[in-house]
Subunit: 408 residues, 2 copies
């Protein structure tokens, strides 16, 4: 198998979307106490006005604003005090010219009143008489019906990742359950005769399964679910059996390993031997991560990720997370920041290069310095804050340039 006809990252993304655009993920109705971080599967439309009554934002008196015009410290307006509206209760009385009613913060403003005057700007002369010392304008110190949310308004769109602020907004509308997408299901296979699990004895020449665990954690971080994690020896039939089981149980199968040519060949052959269009992306012009395969088996996505931990995590972030978000129609900003590049780097045009960086703040500016290292080192990753992308038409980046740094 050759890697001469590799795809650009953009092409690979386009092919992925095109191939899996009809993938359907079940949805379910869930209590809002359990949906933080989940993806909305239906638009949220309010069927009430919020607030659904005119509400005071101060402790004070509901009046007709025209009654306050011209009033001052030396020349107060005198109004007839009609009692009070109690918190959480309906305002039963109506305000006519020359009248005032006490309303606490959050209380309902009675019919006829069009403003609230703060208690600090008034004086209660006796039980039935109120002096007001400054004018207020119409709608001052009040929130009107529907000011916050209007009935029939589309408040949140399908595809939104639900945050704590959204939970507050949902509860304001009295919405206690919402339709969310089920978690995307992943099946994670690590391949390689040298790979052993954490509970096995480490013999010289073997290495621990790093990718299986790192991918498991990444999947959970993006809101997915791992249905199975398994280590498979370099054997066509064993790998084929697991991929077959993977596409039955999960939406996305990740095979990592294949630092050796042999394993890449197995993976290629396995994907082409099962039901589906087989491998449709054979290598990507990305560094690190070039020997990545993507196939379609039984309408499920199967990724053959590189064996090096750094490479496989980069490809996960660039392609797998991208696909996962697209399947659910997730509409959100990528977590990134801008920083000044504190280094020069030359890259090969024709390749999209992902350079690991560390971030430092100096004099209120953020600087990115490179973290070089052999891609076999896991600490290259854990010592980095993020990466910068050098696109395939660029020849590198220059010290002093400002670029986006994507968090890992």
């Amino acid at each position: 198998m050759d890697f001469f006809k590799v795809e650009s990252v953009d092409n690979a993304k386009e092919k992925l979307i095109d191939k899996f655009k009809n993938m359907e993920i079940n949805t379910r109705n869930e209590d809002i106490l359990n949906v933080t971080g989940r993806i909305l599967a239906k638009d949220i439309i309010s069927n009430i006005n919020v607030p659904d009554f005119n509400r005071s934002t101060v402790d004070g008196y509901a009046i007709k604003s025209s009654d306050s015009h011209g009033s001052s410290e030396s020349m107060p307006s005198i109004l007839n005090l009609k009692g009070e509206v109690r918190m959480g209760e309906k305002a039963k009385e109506e305000i006519f010219p020359g009248e005032a009613i006490y309303v606490p913060t959050g209380g309902m403003i009675p019919k006829g009143a069009d403003s609230m005057i703060m208690i600090e700007n008034t004086e209660k002369i006796d039980k039935e008489t109120l002096a007001i010392y400054r004018p207020v304008s119409k709608n001052e110190n009040m929130i009107l019906i529907g000011d916050d949310i209007k009935r029939d308004q589309i408040v949140f769109k399908k595809g939104r990742r639900i945050t704590p602020k959204d939970i507050g907004t949902l509860s304001a509308m009295g919405i206690s359950r919402v339709e969310i997408f089920n978690k995307l299901k992943f099946f994670v296979i690590s391949t390689g005769d040298e790979i052993i699990d954490l509970d096995e004895k480490l013999e010289i020449g073997k290495i621990r399964d790093i990718n299986g665990y790192a991918l498991d954690s990444l999947i959970k971080t993006i809101g997915g679910e791992v249905v199975k994690r398994i280590i498979v020896k370099d054997n066509f039939h064993l790998l084929k059996d697991e991929v077959k089981s993977g596409v039955n149980k999960a939406d996305i199968v990740l095979i990592s390993g294949g630092s050796s040519v042999g394993v890449r060949d197995f993976t290629y052959d396995v994907l082409n031997s099962l039901r589906g269009s087989g491998v449709f992306i054979k290598g990507i012009s990305i560094k690190p991560g070039k020997p990545t395969l993507v196939g379609e088996v039984n309408n499920k996505a199967v990724f053959g990720l590189p064996g090096h931990p750094v490479s496989s995590i980069i490809v996960f972030k660039v392609l797998v997370e991208y696909l996962a978000k697209n399947i659910l129609g997730v509409n959100e900003h990528v977590q990134k920041t801008r920083a000044i590049m504190d280094f020069n780097i030359h890259s090969s045009p024709g390749k999209e290069t992902y350079q690991m960086v560390k971030l430092d703040e100096k004099n209120g500016e953020l600087y990115a310095s490179p973290n070089f290292g052999k891609s076999g080192l896991i600490t290259l990753l854990s010592n980095s804050d993020g990466y910068v992308v050098i696109k395939d038409h660029e020849e590198g980046l220059d010290r002093g340039e400002k670029r986006d740094v994507y968090f890992i």
Copy 2:
């Protein structure tokens, strides 16, 4: 109760740390498959070298580098080929001058060899003869014992929030279980006669419990656990009973509500009527959020948060999250970005002002524009990306300034 002697935000933080510095949270030993996002309760020290054998980073031949010196396309060095090291197996043979052994990527480099030459730079003349066409230097194309992680090295410090990259590093060291802090337990009380829950009928004058739900979601987002969420009417005895139960069941009790003076007074009296030093922070010079109370009851922290959703979420971010991280010794960067302020704002010195903003990218620069609005509006929050902080000694901020924007 007056709010004349309010604390600065920095003082309030100091008092919080001082009061609860001896709070102890239990830890537990957990499988690394379940610890993403959790807080490490013990330093992680490696008891092995990673790798624990010299490893090849290429497919090629292990040789003595001195045997390659002076070799070129026109003048290859000829070496004696001694077979191969198989993936995942111990290299049994030793390399002597004039000898080469095939090693795949990730394979173990045999004793005596000090470099790897890539297969592309060699030619296999026959079963026992290898021509090499370029020189390699010592340690080229190999990862040495301990290059990634050294035995006895402190790899992660206690207080670290565990990320997917860390999970990869832990598995590289063969660590399958780590000691983590239990989730901090929160007890969430919403107060107010006007507050009704989502399953109750909305009558005119009542409003939905927004804070209880938003706080529940925020608590989960920072890795805490809500042991109970309850709505309590404006009544001293009812509130006292719930706070008593809260400090028995949880580490932190949040009481939100008290937009009316009466509720603030109840909360104050309840905190002072129970075992402990009672209210020790009575108002904070923060906008919004001034009428915040903090007390100590039974060695637990009890916060009286403002009733307005925006205010209570701001105070949660500024003080409650701060305390929660300090109790566990969490050592991490706050999620923020830098943006150019696209507005002028005047603020009252002596108050730390939190201004909600929206972020927009124009010509590769990030701009923040203000989101004004009555603090009673929940949509003020859901339409904002974050906030900027105007410190209490500042008089405002100027258009064109660069400032940190904290995400909400």
